[in-house]
Protein backbone atom coordinates (compact mmCIF):
# COMPACT_ATOMS: atom_id res chain seq x y z
CA UNK A 1 0.00 0.00 0.00
CA UNK A 2 1.35 3.42 -0.86
CA UNK A 3 1.65 6.08 1.76
CA UNK A 4 -0.93 8.83 1.74
CA UNK A 5 0.26 10.82 4.71
CA UNK A 6 3.57 10.58 6.53
CA UNK A 7 4.10 12.15 9.92
CA UNK A 8 7.71 12.41 11.03
CA UNK A 9 8.99 13.50 14.45
CA UNK A 10 5.93 15.61 15.13
CA UNK A 11 6.40 17.51 18.36
CA UNK A 12 3.91 19.89 19.94
CA UNK A 13 4.57 22.07 22.97
CA UNK A 14 2.05 24.35 24.60
CA UNK A 15 3.14 27.30 26.64
CA UNK A 16 0.80 27.70 29.59
CA UNK A 17 0.77 29.75 32.76
CA UNK A 18 2.34 26.80 34.53
CA UNK A 19 5.14 26.48 32.01
CA UNK A 20 5.63 24.36 28.94
CA UNK A 21 3.58 21.23 28.37
CA UNK A 22 4.93 18.67 25.95
CA UNK A 23 1.80 17.25 24.33
CA UNK A 24 3.27 15.34 21.40
CA UNK A 25 6.81 14.02 21.64
CA UNK A 26 8.26 13.12 18.26
CA UNK A 27 5.31 11.13 16.93
CA UNK A 28 6.02 9.32 13.66
CA UNK A 29 3.58 7.24 11.65
CA UNK A 30 2.13 6.93 8.19
CA UNK A 31 -1.36 6.44 6.85
CA UNK A 32 -1.64 4.33 3.69
CA UNK A 33 -4.17 4.92 0.93
CA UNK A 34 -7.61 3.56 1.86
CA UNK A 35 -6.56 2.21 5.22
CA UNK A 36 -8.21 2.73 8.59
CA UNK A 37 -5.44 3.62 11.01
CA UNK A 38 -6.45 3.86 14.64
CA UNK A 39 -4.54 6.19 16.93
CA UNK A 40 -5.17 4.79 20.39
CA UNK A 41 -4.48 6.02 23.88
CA UNK A 42 -5.99 7.43 27.05
CA UNK A 43 -6.84 11.06 27.61
CA UNK A 44 -3.79 13.26 27.62
CA UNK A 45 -1.67 10.95 25.49
CA UNK A 46 -1.57 13.47 22.65
CA UNK A 47 -3.74 11.78 20.06
CA UNK A 48 -6.17 14.64 19.44
CA UNK A 49 -3.39 17.22 19.42
CA UNK A 50 -1.58 15.12 16.82
CA UNK A 51 -4.71 15.10 14.66
CA UNK A 52 -5.14 18.86 14.86
CA UNK A 53 -1.45 19.52 14.22
CA UNK A 54 -1.63 17.74 10.86
CA UNK A 55 -3.30 20.69 9.16
CA UNK A 56 -2.19 23.48 11.48
CA UNK A 57 -5.41 23.66 13.49
CA UNK A 58 -3.71 24.26 16.82
CA UNK A 59 -3.91 27.63 18.59
CA UNK A 60 -1.05 30.10 18.66
CA UNK A 61 0.15 28.87 22.06
CA UNK A 62 1.33 25.67 20.38
CA UNK A 63 4.89 25.32 19.12
CA UNK A 64 4.97 22.61 16.47
CA UNK A 65 7.97 20.95 14.86
CA UNK A 66 8.48 17.93 12.64
CA UNK A 67 6.97 17.23 9.26
CA UNK A 68 3.64 16.11 7.81
CA UNK A 69 3.98 15.04 4.19
CA UNK A 70 1.08 14.49 1.85
CA UNK A 71 1.31 14.30 -1.92
CA UNK A 72 4.93 15.35 -2.03
CA UNK A 73 4.59 18.49 0.04
CA UNK A 74 5.22 19.24 3.68
CA UNK A 75 1.98 20.61 5.07
CA UNK A 76 3.88 22.06 8.00
CA UNK A 77 5.53 24.74 5.86
CA UNK A 78 2.41 25.86 4.03
CA UNK A 79 0.79 29.26 4.52
CA UNK A 80 -2.66 29.35 6.11
CA UNK A 81 -4.42 30.02 2.80
CA UNK A 82 -3.00 26.84 1.28
CA UNK A 83 -3.86 24.84 4.39
CA UNK A 84 -7.40 26.13 4.26
CA UNK A 85 -7.76 24.73 0.76
CA UNK A 86 -6.38 21.39 1.88
CA UNK A 87 -8.70 21.15 4.89
CA UNK A 88 -12.04 19.91 3.72
CA UNK A 89 -10.78 19.02 0.25
CA UNK A 90 -7.91 16.62 0.98
CA UNK A 91 -8.11 16.17 4.72
CA UNK A 92 -11.45 16.45 6.49
CA UNK A 93 -12.32 16.20 10.16
CA UNK A 94 -15.13 14.74 12.21
CA UNK A 95 -15.16 15.43 15.94
CA UNK A 96 -16.74 13.78 18.94
CA UNK A 97 -19.54 16.18 19.68
CA UNK A 98 -21.53 17.02 16.55
CA UNK A 99 -23.73 19.51 18.37
CA UNK A 100 -20.84 21.85 19.02
CA UNK A 101 -19.46 21.44 15.50
CA UNK A 102 -22.70 22.20 13.69
CA UNK A 103 -24.09 25.71 13.47
CA UNK A 104 -27.40 25.64 15.35
CA UNK A 105 -29.02 28.48 13.36
CA UNK A 106 -28.37 27.11 9.88
CA UNK A 107 -30.22 24.27 8.20
CA UNK A 108 -28.39 21.06 7.41
CA UNK A 109 -28.67 21.88 3.71
CA UNK A 110 -27.07 25.31 4.17
CA UNK A 111 -24.14 23.85 6.09
CA UNK A 112 -23.41 21.12 3.59
CA UNK A 113 -23.96 23.63 0.78
CA UNK A 114 -21.29 25.88 2.26
CA UNK A 115 -18.67 23.14 1.89
CA UNK A 116 -19.76 22.42 -1.68
CA UNK A 117 -19.72 26.09 -2.61
CA UNK A 118 -16.35 26.72 -1.09
CA UNK A 119 -14.45 23.74 -2.45
CA UNK A 120 -16.43 22.64 -5.49
CA UNK A 121 -18.13 25.84 -6.61
CA UNK A 122 -21.51 24.14 -6.63
CA UNK A 123 -24.58 26.18 -5.83
CA UNK A 124 -28.35 26.24 -6.13
CA UNK A 125 -30.06 23.11 -7.36
CA UNK A 126 -26.79 21.29 -8.07
CA UNK A 127 -25.57 21.82 -4.50
CA UNK A 128 -28.90 20.72 -3.11
CA UNK A 129 -28.87 17.57 -5.20
CA UNK A 130 -25.33 16.75 -4.15
CA UNK A 131 -26.14 17.46 -0.48
CA UNK A 132 -29.06 15.03 -0.63
CA UNK A 133 -26.78 12.42 -2.21
CA UNK A 134 -24.33 12.87 0.61
CA UNK A 135 -26.99 12.43 3.26
CA UNK A 136 -28.07 9.28 1.51
CA UNK A 137 -24.47 8.05 1.44
CA UNK A 138 -24.29 8.33 5.23
CA UNK A 139 -27.55 6.47 5.66
CA UNK A 140 -29.95 9.27 6.51
CA UNK A 141 -33.51 8.39 5.52
CA UNK A 142 -35.60 11.00 3.67
CA UNK A 143 -32.50 13.06 2.79
CA UNK A 144 -34.30 15.82 0.90
CA UNK A 145 -36.53 16.55 3.87
CA UNK A 146 -33.59 16.57 6.27
CA UNK A 147 -31.88 19.30 4.26
CA UNK A 148 -34.36 21.87 5.50
CA UNK A 149 -34.06 20.81 9.15
CA UNK A 150 -31.92 22.36 11.88
CA UNK A 151 -29.37 20.41 13.95
CA UNK A 152 -31.56 20.43 17.06
CA UNK A 153 -34.22 18.52 15.17
CA UNK A 154 -31.85 15.61 14.64
CA UNK A 155 -30.81 12.86 17.04
CA UNK A 156 -27.18 12.50 18.10
CA UNK A 157 -26.54 9.73 15.61
CA UNK A 158 -28.11 11.71 12.79
CA UNK A 159 -26.04 14.78 13.65
CA UNK A 160 -22.88 12.74 13.52
CA UNK A 161 -23.94 11.40 10.13
CA UNK A 162 -24.49 14.98 8.94
CA UNK A 163 -20.98 15.87 10.16
CA UNK A 164 -19.56 12.94 8.26
CA UNK A 165 -21.55 13.93 5.17
CA UNK A 166 -20.06 17.42 5.36
CA UNK A 167 -16.60 16.04 5.91
CA UNK A 168 -16.73 13.77 2.88
CA UNK A 169 -18.54 16.26 0.63
CA UNK A 170 -15.34 16.81 -1.36
CA UNK A 171 -14.25 13.19 -1.32
CA UNK A 172 -11.25 13.84 0.91
CA UNK A 173 -8.37 11.44 0.62
CA UNK A 174 -8.08 11.36 4.40
CA UNK A 175 -10.83 11.59 6.97
CA UNK A 176 -9.61 12.36 10.48
CA UNK A 177 -12.27 11.10 12.86
CA UNK A 178 -11.62 12.10 16.48
CA UNK A 179 -13.70 9.89 18.79
CA UNK A 180 -16.57 9.99 16.28
CA UNK A 181 -18.78 7.53 18.15
CA UNK A 182 -17.83 8.21 21.76
CA UNK A 183 -20.93 10.29 22.51
CA UNK A 184 -23.25 7.79 20.82
CA UNK A 185 -25.17 4.74 21.99
CA UNK A 186 -23.82 1.39 20.86
CA UNK A 187 -26.63 0.64 18.44
CA UNK A 188 -26.11 4.08 16.89
CA UNK A 189 -22.34 3.68 17.00
CA UNK A 190 -22.65 0.46 15.01
CA UNK A 191 -24.45 2.37 12.26
CA UNK A 192 -21.86 5.16 12.17
CA UNK A 193 -19.01 2.65 11.97
CA UNK A 194 -20.84 1.08 9.04
CA UNK A 195 -20.95 4.49 7.40
CA UNK A 196 -17.18 4.83 7.76
CA UNK A 197 -16.74 1.42 6.17
CA UNK A 198 -19.02 2.44 3.30
CA UNK A 199 -17.01 5.59 2.70
CA UNK A 200 -13.83 3.68 2.39
CA UNK A 201 -15.42 1.22 -0.01
CA UNK A 202 -17.26 3.75 -2.12
CA UNK A 203 -15.03 6.78 -2.26
CA UNK A 204 -11.74 5.26 -1.18
CA UNK A 205 -11.15 7.56 1.77
CA UNK A 206 -8.42 6.62 4.21
CA UNK A 207 -9.43 7.13 7.83
CA UNK A 208 -7.31 8.23 10.76
CA UNK A 209 -9.50 7.10 13.64
CA UNK A 210 -8.70 8.55 17.02
CA UNK A 211 -10.23 6.55 19.82
CA UNK A 212 -9.76 5.16 23.29
CA UNK A 213 -12.27 2.38 22.61
CA UNK A 214 -10.56 -0.90 21.90
CA UNK A 215 -13.85 -2.45 20.82
CA UNK A 216 -14.14 0.12 18.04
CA UNK A 217 -10.52 -0.52 17.09
CA UNK A 218 -11.16 -4.25 16.92
CA UNK A 219 -14.19 -3.62 14.77
CA UNK A 220 -12.84 -1.33 12.11
CA UNK A 221 -9.09 -0.63 12.21
CA UNK A 222 -6.60 -2.14 9.78
CA UNK A 223 -3.62 -0.94 11.72
CA UNK A 224 -3.14 0.60 15.13
CA UNK A 225 -0.70 3.13 16.54
CA UNK A 226 -0.65 3.28 20.34
CA UNK A 227 0.33 6.57 21.95
CA UNK A 228 1.51 7.16 25.48
CA UNK A 229 2.54 10.48 27.02
CA UNK A 230 2.97 12.04 23.59
CA UNK A 231 5.07 9.26 22.08
CA UNK A 232 4.03 6.59 19.63
CA UNK A 233 4.96 3.40 21.44
CA UNK A 234 3.67 0.54 19.31
CA UNK A 235 2.45 0.09 15.79
CA UNK A 236 0.92 -3.05 14.33
CA UNK A 237 -1.87 -4.60 12.33
CA UNK A 238 -4.98 -4.83 14.46
CA UNK A 239 -4.94 -8.63 14.76
CA UNK A 240 -1.26 -8.63 15.72
CA UNK A 241 -1.65 -5.88 18.27
CA UNK A 242 -4.45 -7.64 20.12
CA UNK A 243 -2.90 -11.10 19.87
CA UNK A 244 0.76 -10.17 20.38
CA UNK A 245 1.09 -6.81 22.12
CA UNK A 246 4.76 -6.04 22.71
CA UNK A 247 4.64 -2.93 24.87
CA UNK A 248 3.67 -3.43 28.52
CA UNK A 249 1.36 -0.41 28.28
CA UNK A 250 -0.51 -1.90 25.32
CA UNK A 251 -0.83 -5.15 27.24
CA UNK A 252 -2.09 -3.16 30.22
CA UNK A 253 -4.74 -1.41 28.15
CA UNK A 254 -5.99 -4.71 26.76
CA UNK A 255 -6.17 -6.26 30.21
CA UNK A 256 -8.00 -3.27 31.66
CA UNK A 257 -11.06 -3.69 29.44
CA UNK A 258 -13.71 -6.20 30.38
CA UNK A 259 -13.73 -8.62 27.48
CA UNK A 260 -16.59 -11.11 27.32
CA UNK A 261 -14.51 -13.29 25.01
CA UNK A 262 -11.64 -13.58 27.46
CA UNK A 263 -12.57 -13.71 31.11
CA UNK A 264 -9.68 -12.91 33.36
CA UNK A 265 -9.25 -14.60 36.69
CA UNK A 266 -8.82 -12.27 39.61
CA UNK A 267 -10.51 -9.30 38.05
CA UNK A 268 -9.46 -6.68 35.57
CA UNK A 269 -5.81 -5.80 35.56
CA UNK A 270 -5.14 -2.25 36.68
CA UNK A 271 -2.33 0.00 35.53
CA UNK A 272 -0.91 1.64 38.65
CA UNK A 273 -0.14 5.35 38.64
CA UNK A 274 -1.12 7.88 36.04
CA UNK A 275 0.02 9.37 32.77
CA UNK A 276 2.83 11.84 33.49
CA UNK A 277 2.56 15.40 32.32
CA UNK A 278 5.87 16.35 30.81
CA UNK A 279 7.48 19.66 30.08
CA UNK A 280 10.54 18.13 28.44
CA UNK A 281 11.20 14.93 26.62
CA UNK A 282 13.11 12.77 29.10
CA UNK A 283 15.98 10.49 28.08
CA UNK A 284 14.00 7.59 29.43
CA UNK A 285 10.93 5.52 28.76
CA UNK A 286 7.96 7.66 29.81
CA UNK A 287 6.09 4.55 30.98
CA UNK A 288 8.94 3.35 33.22
CA UNK A 289 7.39 4.65 36.45
CA UNK A 290 4.28 2.54 35.91
CA UNK A 291 5.93 -0.50 34.40
CA UNK A 292 6.67 -3.76 36.21
CA UNK A 293 9.45 -4.57 33.74
CA UNK A 294 11.30 -1.28 34.11
CA UNK A 295 14.97 -1.24 35.13
CA UNK A 296 17.80 1.30 35.14
CA UNK A 297 18.07 1.27 31.36
CA UNK A 298 14.42 2.24 31.04
CA UNK A 299 14.89 5.15 33.44
CA UNK A 300 18.04 6.51 31.87
CA UNK A 301 17.92 5.79 28.16
CA UNK A 302 15.38 6.75 25.55
CA UNK A 303 13.92 3.75 23.73
CA UNK A 304 13.38 4.02 19.98
CA UNK A 305 10.56 2.62 17.91
CA UNK A 306 12.11 -0.54 16.47
CA UNK A 307 10.81 -3.92 15.32
CA UNK A 308 10.19 -6.05 18.39
CA UNK A 309 9.85 -9.77 19.06
CA UNK A 310 6.42 -9.90 17.39
CA UNK A 311 7.81 -8.34 14.22
CA UNK A 312 6.12 -4.95 14.54
CA UNK A 313 7.63 -1.71 15.85
CA UNK A 314 7.65 -1.12 19.59
CA UNK A 315 9.32 1.54 21.73
CA UNK A 316 10.47 -0.54 24.68
CA UNK A 317 13.75 -1.81 26.13
CA UNK A 318 12.13 -4.99 27.37
CA UNK A 319 9.25 -5.81 25.05
CA UNK A 320 6.97 -8.66 26.00
CA UNK A 321 7.80 -12.07 24.53
CA UNK A 322 5.44 -13.44 21.93
CA UNK A 323 2.94 -15.75 23.68
CA UNK A 324 3.91 -19.37 23.03
CA UNK A 325 0.48 -20.40 21.80
CA UNK A 326 0.54 -18.00 18.89
CA UNK A 327 4.21 -18.04 17.83
CA UNK A 328 3.37 -20.24 14.89
CA UNK A 329 0.41 -18.17 13.83
Amino acid sequence: MSKLLTVDSLTVRFSTEDGTVLAVDGASFAVAEREVLALVGESGCGKSVTALALTGLLPGTAAVSGSVHMGGQNLRGLPEARLRAIRGRDIAYVFQEPMTSLNPVLTVGRQIGEVLRRHQRLSGAAAKRRAAELLELVGIPLPVRRLSEYPHQLSGGMRQRVMIAMAVACRPRLLVADEPTTALDVTVQAGVLDVLRTLRAEIGTAILLITHDLGVVADIADRVVVMYAGRTIEEAHAEALFARPSHPYTRGLLDAVPNPARHLDGGLREIPGRVPQLSDSPDACTFADRCARADTTCRTRRPSLDPGPAGHPVRCWHPLPVPAAVTTA
Partner: protein
Protein backbone atom coordinates in the same frame (compact mmCIF):
# COMPACT_ATOMS: atom_id res chain seq x y z
CA UNK B 1 -34.91 -11.33 54.86
CA UNK B 2 -36.62 -8.78 52.67
CA UNK B 3 -35.15 -7.68 49.38
CA UNK B 4 -32.84 -4.68 49.40
CA UNK B 5 -34.96 -3.03 46.75
CA UNK B 6 -38.41 -3.76 45.43
CA UNK B 7 -39.76 -1.57 42.68
CA UNK B 8 -43.42 -2.14 41.83
CA UNK B 9 -45.03 -0.58 38.78
CA UNK B 10 -42.96 2.57 39.07
CA UNK B 11 -44.02 5.49 36.91
CA UNK B 12 -42.22 8.80 36.52
CA UNK B 13 -43.55 11.39 34.10
CA UNK B 14 -42.01 14.78 33.52
CA UNK B 15 -45.01 16.63 32.14
CA UNK B 16 -45.72 14.83 28.88
CA UNK B 17 -42.45 12.86 28.97
CA UNK B 18 -43.06 9.32 30.11
CA UNK B 19 -39.50 8.67 31.28
CA UNK B 20 -40.29 5.61 33.37
CA UNK B 21 -43.56 3.95 32.52
CA UNK B 22 -44.35 1.01 34.76
CA UNK B 23 -41.19 -0.73 35.92
CA UNK B 24 -41.10 -3.58 38.43
CA UNK B 25 -37.76 -4.92 39.55
CA UNK B 26 -36.31 -6.53 42.66
CA UNK B 27 -32.74 -6.45 43.91
CA UNK B 28 -32.08 -9.07 46.56
CA UNK B 29 -30.00 -8.41 49.67
CA UNK B 30 -26.34 -8.34 48.65
CA UNK B 31 -27.21 -8.79 44.99
CA UNK B 32 -25.73 -6.78 42.11
CA UNK B 33 -28.27 -6.10 39.38
CA UNK B 34 -27.14 -4.36 36.22
CA UNK B 35 -29.62 -1.99 34.60
CA UNK B 36 -28.62 -1.40 31.01
CA UNK B 37 -30.15 0.78 28.37
CA UNK B 38 -29.27 3.47 25.90
CA UNK B 39 -29.74 7.19 26.33
CA UNK B 40 -33.38 8.06 26.78
CA UNK B 41 -34.26 4.63 28.11
CA UNK B 42 -35.12 6.08 31.52
CA UNK B 43 -32.48 4.15 33.45
CA UNK B 44 -31.01 7.18 35.21
CA UNK B 45 -34.47 8.52 36.02
CA UNK B 46 -35.25 5.15 37.57
CA UNK B 47 -32.10 5.42 39.69
CA UNK B 48 -33.10 8.88 40.86
CA UNK B 49 -36.63 7.72 41.73
CA UNK B 50 -35.31 4.76 43.67
CA UNK B 51 -33.11 7.04 45.77
CA UNK B 52 -35.92 9.60 45.94
CA UNK B 53 -33.81 12.40 44.55
CA UNK B 54 -36.94 13.15 42.58
CA UNK B 55 -40.56 12.38 43.52
CA UNK B 56 -42.18 9.42 41.83
CA UNK B 57 -45.41 9.82 39.87
CA UNK B 58 -46.87 6.51 41.02
CA UNK B 59 -45.88 3.03 42.07
CA UNK B 60 -43.89 1.69 44.97
CA UNK B 61 -40.26 1.73 45.99
CA UNK B 62 -39.45 -0.47 48.98
CA UNK B 63 -35.99 -0.47 50.44
CA UNK B 64 -35.37 -3.28 52.93
CA UNK B 65 -39.12 -3.61 53.16
CA UNK B 66 -39.89 0.04 53.90
CA UNK B 67 -42.03 1.86 51.37
CA UNK B 68 -40.36 5.17 50.47
CA UNK B 69 -41.98 6.02 47.15
CA UNK B 70 -44.51 8.46 48.58
CA UNK B 71 -42.82 9.55 51.81
CA UNK B 72 -42.30 13.24 52.49
CA UNK B 73 -38.75 14.55 52.52
CA UNK B 74 -38.88 14.86 56.27
CA UNK B 75 -40.16 11.33 56.82
CA UNK B 76 -37.59 10.07 54.35
CA UNK B 77 -34.56 11.67 55.98
CA UNK B 78 -33.87 9.09 58.72
CA UNK B 79 -34.31 6.28 56.18
CA UNK B 80 -31.72 7.69 53.82
CA UNK B 81 -28.87 5.95 55.56
CA UNK B 82 -30.24 2.74 54.05
CA UNK B 83 -29.45 3.74 50.48
CA UNK B 84 -27.17 6.00 48.53
CA UNK B 85 -26.09 6.81 45.00
CA UNK B 86 -22.87 7.53 43.10
CA UNK B 87 -22.92 9.41 39.83
CA UNK B 88 -21.01 9.45 36.59
CA UNK B 89 -19.16 12.69 37.11
CA UNK B 90 -17.55 12.87 40.53
CA UNK B 91 -16.25 16.39 39.95
CA UNK B 92 -19.78 17.78 39.87
CA UNK B 93 -21.12 15.64 42.69
CA UNK B 94 -18.49 16.49 45.30
CA UNK B 95 -18.70 19.86 47.03
CA UNK B 96 -15.54 21.72 45.93
CA UNK B 97 -15.40 23.69 49.18
CA UNK B 98 -15.38 20.70 51.49
CA UNK B 99 -12.36 18.60 52.31
CA UNK B 100 -12.49 14.94 51.38
CA UNK B 101 -12.70 14.07 55.07
CA UNK B 102 -15.76 16.28 55.58
CA UNK B 103 -17.36 14.91 52.41
CA UNK B 104 -16.96 11.29 53.47
CA UNK B 105 -18.07 12.04 57.03
CA UNK B 106 -21.16 13.97 55.97
CA UNK B 107 -23.63 11.06 55.85
CA UNK B 108 -22.38 9.98 59.28
CA UNK B 109 -22.83 13.48 60.64
CA UNK B 110 -26.29 13.91 59.10
CA UNK B 111 -27.50 10.63 60.52
CA UNK B 112 -25.86 11.27 63.88
CA UNK B 113 -23.65 8.21 63.67
CA UNK B 114 -20.72 8.20 66.10
CA UNK B 115 -18.83 10.96 67.83
CA UNK B 116 -16.50 13.34 66.01
CA UNK B 117 -13.52 11.19 66.94
CA UNK B 118 -15.25 7.99 65.90
CA UNK B 119 -16.30 9.56 62.63
CA UNK B 120 -12.72 10.62 61.92
CA UNK B 121 -11.53 7.07 62.50
CA UNK B 122 -14.28 5.75 60.28
CA UNK B 123 -13.29 8.16 57.48
CA UNK B 124 -9.71 6.92 57.60
CA UNK B 125 -10.97 3.36 57.48
CA UNK B 126 -13.29 4.12 54.54
CA UNK B 127 -10.57 5.90 52.60
CA UNK B 128 -8.35 2.90 53.13
CA UNK B 129 -11.11 0.61 51.90
CA UNK B 130 -11.42 2.58 48.67
CA UNK B 131 -7.66 2.59 48.22
CA UNK B 132 -6.84 6.15 49.26
CA UNK B 133 -4.25 7.20 51.81
CA UNK B 134 -5.57 8.76 55.01
CA UNK B 135 -3.89 12.09 54.28
CA UNK B 136 -6.28 12.55 51.35
CA UNK B 137 -8.89 13.49 54.00
CA UNK B 138 -7.31 16.94 54.27
CA UNK B 139 -7.39 17.58 50.54
CA UNK B 140 -10.04 19.17 48.34
CA UNK B 141 -11.70 17.42 45.39
CA UNK B 142 -9.93 19.56 42.79
CA UNK B 143 -6.58 18.25 44.01
CA UNK B 144 -7.54 14.71 43.07
CA UNK B 145 -7.67 12.83 39.77
CA UNK B 146 -10.98 11.65 38.30
CA UNK B 147 -10.42 8.12 39.52
CA UNK B 148 -9.56 9.31 43.03
CA UNK B 149 -12.67 11.50 43.11
CA UNK B 150 -14.81 8.54 42.17
CA UNK B 151 -13.23 6.64 45.05
CA UNK B 152 -14.19 9.51 47.36
CA UNK B 153 -17.77 9.37 46.02
CA UNK B 154 -17.87 5.68 46.81
CA UNK B 155 -16.48 6.19 50.30
CA UNK B 156 -19.11 8.84 50.97
CA UNK B 157 -21.95 6.75 49.56
CA UNK B 158 -20.94 3.76 51.65
CA UNK B 159 -20.00 5.54 54.86
CA UNK B 160 -23.29 4.93 56.65
CA UNK B 161 -23.22 1.25 55.54
CA UNK B 162 -26.33 1.37 53.33
CA UNK B 163 -28.21 -1.76 52.29
CA UNK B 164 -28.46 -0.48 48.73
CA UNK B 165 -26.02 1.40 46.51
CA UNK B 166 -27.28 2.83 43.24
CA UNK B 167 -24.33 3.39 40.91
CA UNK B 168 -25.25 5.49 37.89
CA UNK B 169 -22.57 5.15 35.19
CA UNK B 170 -19.80 5.33 37.80
CA UNK B 171 -17.04 4.54 35.32
CA UNK B 172 -18.26 6.21 32.14
CA UNK B 173 -16.31 9.43 32.58
CA UNK B 174 -13.06 7.65 33.39
CA UNK B 175 -10.19 6.45 31.26
CA UNK B 176 -9.93 2.78 30.44
CA UNK B 177 -7.21 1.93 32.93
CA UNK B 178 -8.95 3.93 35.68
CA UNK B 179 -12.28 2.32 34.83
CA UNK B 180 -10.76 -1.06 35.50
CA UNK B 181 -9.63 -0.04 38.97
CA UNK B 182 -13.02 1.48 39.86
CA UNK B 183 -14.89 -1.59 38.59
CA UNK B 184 -12.58 -3.83 40.60
CA UNK B 185 -13.10 -1.60 43.61
CA UNK B 186 -16.90 -1.69 43.40
CA UNK B 187 -16.76 -5.48 43.13
CA UNK B 188 -14.39 -5.80 46.07
CA UNK B 189 -16.34 -3.39 48.30
CA UNK B 190 -19.55 -5.16 47.46
CA UNK B 191 -18.09 -8.49 48.52
CA UNK B 192 -16.54 -7.08 51.68
CA UNK B 193 -19.47 -4.95 52.82
CA UNK B 194 -22.31 -6.97 51.35
CA UNK B 195 -24.49 -4.12 50.13
CA UNK B 196 -26.92 -4.66 47.26
CA UNK B 197 -26.20 -2.68 44.13
CA UNK B 198 -28.26 -1.39 41.24
CA UNK B 199 -25.57 -0.77 38.67
CA UNK B 200 -26.88 1.53 35.95
CA UNK B 201 -24.81 1.75 32.79
CA UNK B 202 -24.74 1.64 29.04
CA UNK B 203 -21.51 -0.36 29.22
CA UNK B 204 -22.45 -3.98 28.65
CA UNK B 205 -18.96 -5.26 29.32
CA UNK B 206 -18.93 -3.59 32.74
CA UNK B 207 -22.29 -5.15 33.58
CA UNK B 208 -21.14 -8.56 32.47
CA UNK B 209 -18.12 -8.11 34.69
CA UNK B 210 -19.99 -7.06 37.84
CA UNK B 211 -23.66 -8.00 37.84
CA UNK B 212 -25.34 -11.23 38.87
CA UNK B 213 -28.56 -10.34 37.11
CA UNK B 214 -29.22 -7.91 34.29
CA UNK B 215 -32.31 -5.85 33.45
CA UNK B 216 -32.61 -4.28 30.01
CA UNK B 217 -34.59 -1.07 29.67
CA UNK B 218 -35.97 0.47 26.52
CA UNK B 219 -37.99 3.68 26.31
CA UNK B 220 -39.25 3.64 29.88
CA UNK B 221 -39.99 -0.05 30.30
CA UNK B 222 -38.08 -3.24 31.05
CA UNK B 223 -37.90 -5.61 28.11
CA UNK B 224 -35.86 -8.41 29.63
CA UNK B 225 -34.49 -9.50 33.02
CA UNK B 226 -32.26 -12.54 33.39
CA UNK B 227 -29.25 -14.02 35.12
CA UNK B 228 -26.04 -12.59 33.73
CA UNK B 229 -24.81 -15.72 31.95
CA UNK B 230 -28.24 -16.38 30.51
CA UNK B 231 -28.76 -12.84 29.29
CA UNK B 232 -25.37 -12.62 27.60
CA UNK B 233 -25.37 -16.22 26.44
CA UNK B 234 -28.89 -16.34 25.11
CA UNK B 235 -30.48 -12.90 24.80
CA UNK B 236 -34.16 -13.32 23.98
CA UNK B 237 -35.75 -9.95 23.34
CA UNK B 238 -34.93 -8.69 19.84
CA UNK B 239 -33.74 -5.42 21.38
CA UNK B 240 -31.40 -7.23 23.76
CA UNK B 241 -30.11 -9.27 20.84
CA UNK B 242 -29.48 -6.11 18.80
CA UNK B 243 -27.88 -4.30 21.72
CA UNK B 244 -25.46 -7.14 22.47
CA UNK B 245 -24.62 -7.59 18.83
CA UNK B 246 -23.86 -3.88 18.43
CA UNK B 247 -21.38 -3.61 21.30
CA UNK B 248 -17.98 -4.34 19.78
CA UNK B 249 -15.71 -6.70 21.69
CA UNK B 250 -12.01 -5.89 21.94
CA UNK B 251 -10.79 -8.77 19.82
CA UNK B 252 -10.51 -8.15 16.07
CA UNK B 253 -10.75 -11.78 15.02
CA UNK B 254 -13.85 -12.49 17.11
CA UNK B 255 -15.39 -9.08 16.46
CA UNK B 256 -15.11 -9.33 12.68
CA UNK B 257 -16.65 -12.79 12.66
CA UNK B 258 -19.72 -11.60 14.54
CA UNK B 259 -23.06 -11.06 12.95
CA UNK B 260 -24.48 -7.70 13.79
CA UNK B 261 -28.13 -6.79 13.93
CA UNK B 262 -28.36 -3.23 12.67
CA UNK B 263 -31.37 -1.34 13.96
CA UNK B 264 -33.02 1.18 11.72
CA UNK B 265 -34.18 4.53 13.00
CA UNK B 266 -33.63 6.14 16.38
CA UNK B 267 -35.14 5.65 19.79
CA UNK B 268 -38.62 7.22 19.51
CA UNK B 269 -39.71 10.08 21.73
CA UNK B 270 -40.87 9.17 25.23
CA UNK B 271 -43.53 11.87 24.85
CA UNK B 272 -45.47 9.73 22.44
CA UNK B 273 -44.12 6.18 22.67
CA UNK B 274 -45.16 3.73 19.95
CA UNK B 275 -48.31 1.68 20.48
CA UNK B 276 -48.11 -1.97 21.46
CA UNK B 277 -44.52 -3.01 21.98
CA UNK B 278 -42.44 0.17 22.18
CA UNK B 279 -39.68 -1.45 20.19
CA UNK B 280 -41.88 -2.55 17.28
CA UNK B 281 -41.05 0.29 14.80
CA UNK B 282 -37.35 -0.66 14.98
CA UNK B 283 -37.77 -4.38 15.51
CA UNK B 284 -36.56 -6.43 12.56
CA UNK B 285 -39.01 -9.26 13.30
CA UNK B 286 -42.12 -7.38 14.46
CA UNK B 287 -45.50 -8.74 13.39
CA UNK B 288 -48.85 -6.98 13.37
CA UNK B 289 -49.71 -7.97 16.90
CA UNK B 290 -46.63 -6.11 18.16
CA UNK B 291 -48.02 -2.76 17.07
CA UNK B 292 -51.33 -3.36 18.80
CA UNK B 293 -50.86 -5.32 21.98
CA UNK B 294 -48.48 -4.30 24.77
CA UNK B 295 -46.37 -7.36 25.65
CA UNK B 296 -46.29 -8.12 29.37
CA UNK B 297 -43.00 -8.88 31.09
CA UNK B 298 -43.59 -12.60 31.59
CA UNK B 299 -41.63 -15.53 32.87
CA UNK B 300 -40.28 -17.75 30.12
CA UNK B 301 -38.42 -21.04 30.27
CA UNK B 302 -37.34 -22.84 33.42
CA UNK B 303 -34.83 -20.33 34.79
CA UNK B 304 -36.92 -17.41 35.98
CA UNK B 305 -35.91 -15.08 33.16
CA UNK B 306 -38.60 -12.58 32.19
CA UNK B 307 -39.12 -11.08 28.74
CA UNK B 308 -41.64 -8.67 27.28
CA UNK B 309 -41.97 -9.92 23.73
CA UNK B 310 -44.82 -11.64 21.93
CA UNK B 311 -42.38 -13.57 19.78
CA UNK B 312 -40.50 -15.31 22.58
CA UNK B 313 -42.06 -18.75 23.13
CA UNK B 314 -43.25 -19.79 26.59
CA UNK B 315 -40.36 -22.26 26.80
CA UNK B 316 -38.00 -19.34 26.29
CA UNK B 317 -37.13 -19.93 22.64
CA UNK B 318 -36.24 -16.53 21.23
CA UNK B 319 -37.17 -15.32 17.76
CA UNK B 320 -34.39 -15.51 15.17
CA UNK B 321 -33.50 -11.92 14.49
CA UNK B 322 -31.93 -11.06 11.18
CA UNK B 323 -31.34 -7.71 9.57
CA UNK B 324 -34.25 -6.20 7.78
CA UNK B 325 -32.02 -4.70 5.13
Amino acid sequence: MSAALEIVDLVKHFGPVRAVDGVSLTVGAGEVVGLVGESGSGKSTLGRCVTRLIPVTSGQVRITGREIGQLSRRALRPLRRNFNIVFQDPSSSLNPRMTVGAIVAEPLRLHGIGTTVERRARVTELLDQVGLRGEVARRYPHELSGGQRQRVSLARALSAAPALLVADEPTSALDVSVQASVLNLVGRLQQDMGFACLFITHDLAAVEYLAQRVAVMYLGVLVEVAERAELFGRPRHPYTQALLSAAPIPDPVAQRARRRIVLTGDVPSPVDPPSGCRFHPRCPVAVERCSVEVPALRRVGPSGATVACHLVADDGTPPVVTDRR
